[in-house]
Every structure is written in C-alpha cells, then in structure tokens.
C-alpha cells in the first residue's frame, strides 16, 4: 500500500514547536551561548571554549555545594519516603475521616514556597519563635542562624514538613487502588502485617513510589526559595546548596560564563541521576 506524503501535517506541529522553542529551547541555547564565551563591558563577547566548564568542575566551591546538595537530597529522601508510606498506611480508607485527612495532608502543599521559608524562619528563631524558644527552654543550645548543625536540622525539618504530604498522597492513591481480594487472599494464606506490606502493598505502590521518588529528587535538588528565605545559604556557606550558589555567582558576582557552565552541569547531573533512579526502580518490571 502506498502512503500519501503530505508535508502540510508539519503545520499542525508548528504551534507546539514555537511554544517549546520560546519557553525551553531558546533560553537553554542562551545559556549554552554564555557558557562558551567571556563577557566584557559594552556587550563584547570572546570565545572561551570549555574554559568555564573546566573551571567549574575543578573549583572547590562547586564540589562543596554539590556535596551539600547531595547530602540534603538524600537526607530528605531517606526521611520523606518511608515516613510518607507509613503515614499513608495509617490513614483510613473508608468513612468520614478520609476527606479530613486528605485536606490536612494537602495543606502544606498549598502554601507558597517563600511563605513556607518565612514561616519556618520565624517559627525557629531562638528568642521569639515557638520552635526555637521551646528547644532552648528544654536545655538545647539551639540557634539556626549561628550554628551550621542547627541550620541543617531546621532546613531538613522544614522540607519534611512541606513535602512529606506529597509522598503520602501518592502512596495513599496507590494503596486505595489495591482490590479487596488481595487482602482477602492474604488473610486466607495466613500472611501477617509485614508480609502483607512486603508482598502486596509495596509491589502495588511501586509505580506511584517511583514517581514520588523522582519528583522529590528533582524538586529537592533544585530547592531554592524556601532555603534562601530560611537561611540564605548560611551561616557562612554551610547550607549553600547548588541553586543558591548558582544565584550568588550569576546575580551576585555577575559571572555569566561560569554561572552558565554551572547551570548546564547542574542540569546534566539532575538528568543523569533521574535516569539512574528510574532505571533502578523499573529494573524488575520487564524481567
């Protein structure tokens, strides 16, 4: 059978292509453009090749903020994923409490990110904030604006408070979609709590959990607003994660070349790690 060739079909794709070009491809290309040039005043540009990439990759400052970023991301994943599943498991599946729980869970997700940062900043202030005051009253020497350990504790606590709900809601959606027959079969087969979780609930939640891990990974790797409002990267550089560092370089120092190179490296790291996560979690799917 002969296919009719009709090039007019491209016209239908054009609007989408234009849209994507303006919101993704062109901005990205601007960054690529900056990353291979040196800028001087009067908009004069000189070709600099891979110089900025070498500089960023070799700089201790980048290594440090990348390390802090990884620490932050893996800490919150290690807390939020198990905690989210645990909360989802205890939530009721039927009855009048279901909507109440769902709304309570959704609340933190509805608060604007800079408000979350500001809220926690005030909440954790050692002299007037509730959290800071109580901790100090209990005898802990707590001051997140001065001690790096306390700043990390507050940052992670804030992220857990803000984002565990997302994991809970996704896990809950996975849990309620399990047909009753599975639980009945498990009862008949004599399976108890852990075995039911391990062999029925966890496998059935796998897809939504994959999405939860990927979303939380990407979002936390790009965290800026809340952290910037809460600690601004301090005390010192102790909570300066990648995005905060990037903004400091690009807008604070106005080093467009290194900042652009760093953006691209940053982007590739997220892409690579997401791919690794996805592949690992889906590995068993096909076999």
């Amino acid at each position: 059978m002969n296919k009719t060739v009709n090039q007019k079909a491209w016209l239908f794709v054009l609007p989408v292509f234009v849209l994507v070009a303006f919101n993704a491809i062109i901005p990205l290309m601007t960054v690529v453009n900056y990353s291979v040039q040196e800028t001087f005043g009067d908009n004069t540009f000189f070709w600099s090749g891979v110089l900025w990439f070498e500089e960023v990759l070799n700089s201790e400052r980048f290594h440090d903020s990348l390390f802090r970023q990884l620490m932050f991301t893996f800490s919150i994943l290690a807390i939020e994923i198990p905690l989210g599943i645990a909360i989802a498991l205890t939530m009721p599946r039927k009855g009048p409490w279901v909507p109440v729980c769902l709304v309570l869970m959704a609340l933190p997700l509805l608060i604007p990110w800079n408000v979350v940062g500001a809220m926690w900043n005030i909440f954790a202030l050692p002299d007037i904030g509730f959290l800071g005051y109580v901790l100090n009253a209990l005898g802990f020497d707590y001051n997140f604006t001065r001690q790096p350990g306390d700043a990390w504790f507050t940052l992670i606590l804030m992220d857990v408070w803000h984002w565990t709900s997302l994991v809970v809601l996704l896990s809950y959606a996975g849990l309620v979609s399990i047909p009753d027959a599975y639980y009945q079969a498990a009862k008949i087969d004599g399976a108890k709590g852990w075995a039911i979780f391990r062999h029925i609930q966890l496998p059935k939640m796998k897809r939504v959990l994959t999405i939860a891990v990927l979303l939380r990974f990407m979002d936390s790797f790009m965290i800026y607003t809340e952290a910037s409002v809460l600690t601004g990267g301090g005390p010192g550089n102790s909570t300066t994660v990648l995005s905060i560092d990037l903004v400091k370089i690009a807008l604070g120092q106005f080093d467009l070349g290194p900042a652009a190179a760093m953006s691209l490296i940053y982007f590739l790291i997220i892409l690579l790690l997401s791919w690794v996560f996805y592949t690992l979690m889906m590995r068993n799917e096909e076999s």
Binding site: A185, K187, I188, D189, G190, A191, H199, P203, S287
Partner: protein, 358 residues
C-alpha cells in the same frame, strides 16, 4: 477435611435490618458433605458471594452458626478455618516466582523448607505448572494466574474446603472449557470439598455433583443436575436452568384438576393445599410436542415464531395470550395451522406461589 454445616444463617449488610428485603441472606440451612463437588448457582445479587464469604470467614453472619464437623467456627478468622478461595479476578503475588507463590501459604505457617519444597512440587505437577516454577507470576496469563490461586489452596494438606468465586470470568472462552475439565479431574484426584460459585448454568452443571440454586437470598433447591432439570422445586429453578427455560403458565383449578385455556391438564404431582395461592403449570419445552392429526384433544395454539438452534428448532406458540415454547427435532414437521400441543403428563407439574405443590 470436614463436613460443613450452615445452621440458620442470616445476614444483612445493614446495621439494623427491619424489613425482610433488608436481608441479603434470608435463611440458609445447608450441609456440605466432605469431599463433595458443589456448585452454588444463582443470578447476580442473589447472595451467593455473601454466603461464600461467610463460609470462608471474611464475613461474619448476623444470625446463625457455621460448623466444621462438630466445631463451631463462626467467630474464627479465615486463616484459622483452613479454607482456600479462588477469586473472580486472579490474585497472585506479583513480585514472587510461581514457586514462591505456591510456597507462600506454607511459609506463613512456619512449615519446614523440605516439606514446603515437596508439597510445592507435587501441587505444581497437579496444576501443570512444573515447568514454569521459576517464572515470575506476574508474567502469566489469566488462566495461569487462576491455576496459581488454586495451587495455593491445594498446597496445604489441612484445607477443609476450596471455594471458587466465579473463577472463569476473566478466562478466554476456549480455555474456559479446558480449565473446567481440569478442575473436575483435580477434584477426583484430591477428593477435597469444593464449592463453585457461578451464575452460569453450564459451569455449574458440568462441575458439580450437587447444585445449590439460590434466588433472592434463599436456597430454592439442592439437587443433582438431573434432578434440577427433571423436577424443579420452584418455577425459578425451572426458568433459570435449561435453555430455553421451563414454560410457566398461570392456570385455574376445577375439582382438583388444573385447567389451562379451558382444558384439563394431567399433572404428575398432587394439587393439595393450594387454596388461595396463585397457581401455575410448569413444563419444560423438551416435554411439549405437537399432537398428531389423528390424536384426540390437545391445546389449540397459533405458532408465532420459529428459531433454529442447530439440532432442534425452538417454536414459540400463543395460546390464550400465553406463550408456550417447545422443541421440535430436526426433520420433524411443524404443522401450518390447527396446531395442538400435547404435554407429557409425567413431566407436567403444578406450582403454587412458585413452589412445587405436593
């Protein structure tokens, strides 16, 4: 291995059932003999799944008790009743291999690995899965998964009863027949009590030695497939079993003789104790025939429709506004006009308020 007795079971899904219609199960008294092959047959919503869940312990009845042999198991949860159930939609543990799926019920009960291995291999051979033990259960087809569900029931030696809740719903038609005969064969090999819930009469009648027919929350008849066909105790059974179902024709009574369209009808049962009840004549299309031209009597009818069903034709006739169906064999003539029907007296019965008059 036990005889199962249901004693005055009533169940309602409402907290405070008031009317009779609130009860999903109205009153069930039944005994299931050890090692029997039973079918629980009835239309959707008649209470058969409810009854099944009460036997398995997933549901606790509001009234009555369940005995396994002489022990009252009413308050016991499913895992202490030693039962197995195959559900309508295949339930397998996706992440496990076929082997682990079959071993799961034993491992949960702390059976030692050597015994587990022996039992799993035996059962895998029963259900033709020996060559696929190492495969992921997830990759199996629907019929394979149902076999695994069944295998998980067979693997335990202490199972009192294996229950099937419409297990062939999701199976391809050409495999249904295969799986059904496999099930029958398995029953003869393992000699366990099996209860098979279905709304499909073919499935029920081919699998079971005894069929329990349910309607509107109560048992209407328990009997062998032949009994259900030849002597329905209720017009519902006559109608539900057989294709086409039994003719049920409202009639009057004169001097103890039923009258249909002004003519007396000879019946096989007695018309006693039927005063004030609504009366019907029940006769299967198989036992109705056209009277020959030289025969006396017969019910005069008009033929309204003839449909060909292969080896026979289904003839629909009208008599006094009522429809009477009959089967006419291949090659037999259908009279063009002046047709009269003959009812076989041995298989014509009188029903009062739906129930067989005695």
């Amino acid at each position: 291995m036990a005889k199962i007795t249901l004693d005055g079971i009533r169940h309602s899904y409402m907290e405070n059932p008031v009317e009779e219609a609130d009860w999903a199960l109205k009153q069930v008294d039944l005994t299931w003999d050890d090692g029997g092959a039973y079918a629980l047959l009835g239309p959707s919503g008649c209470g058969k799944t409810t009854l099944l869940n009460i036997i398995s312990g997933l549901l606790r009845p509001r009234r009555g008790s369940i005995l396994f042999d002489e022990t009252d198991v009413t308050p016991l949860p499913p895992d202490q009743r030693h039962i197995a159930q195959v559900f309508q939609f295949p339930v397998v543990y996706d992440t496990m291999t076929v082997y682990d799926n079959l071993a799961f019920p034993l491992r949960n009960r702390g059976v030692d690995p050597a015994t587990v291995d022996k039992r799993v291999r035996e059962v895998a051979e029963f259900i033709d899965m020996s060559h696929r033990l190492k495969e992921r259960a997830k990759g199996l087809t629907a019929d394979g998964k149902q076999k695994i569900s069944l295998g998980r029931g067979l693997v335990r030696t202490d199972v009192n009863v294996i229950m099937f809740d419409e297990p062939l719903t999701v199976i391809d038609p050409h495999l249904k027949w295969q799986l059904r005969s496999k099930l029958k064969e398995l029953h003869q090999r393992v000699k366990r009590t099996m209860i098979y819930v279905t709304h499909d009469q073919t499935e029920a009648l081919t699998f079971a030695d005894k069929v329990v027919v349910m309607n509107l929350g109560e048992v209407v008849q328990v009997g062998t497939p032949v009994e259900l066909f030849e002597k329905p105790h209720h017009t519902f059974v006559g109608h539900f079993i057989g294709s086409p179902g039994m003719n049920v024709l409202p009639c009057a009574l004169d001097n103890g003789k039923p009258i249909l369209a002004g003519q007396p009808v000879a019946i096989a049962n007695q018309a006693k104790g039927t005063d004030g009840k609504s009366l019907e004549i029940g006769i299967r299309p198989e036992f109705v025939s056209f009277s020959g031209p030289n025969e006396e009597g017969g019910l005069p009818v008009q033929i309204s429709k003839v449909s060909d069903a292969g080896r026979f034709r289904i003839v629909e006739t009208k008599c006094d506004g009522q429809t009477v169906r009959l089967l006419v064999g291949e090659g037999k003539e259908i009279p063009s006009d002046g047709a009269r029907l003959r009812f076989d007296p041995a298989n014509t019965r009188l029903y009062a308020d739906g129930w067989l008059a005695e």
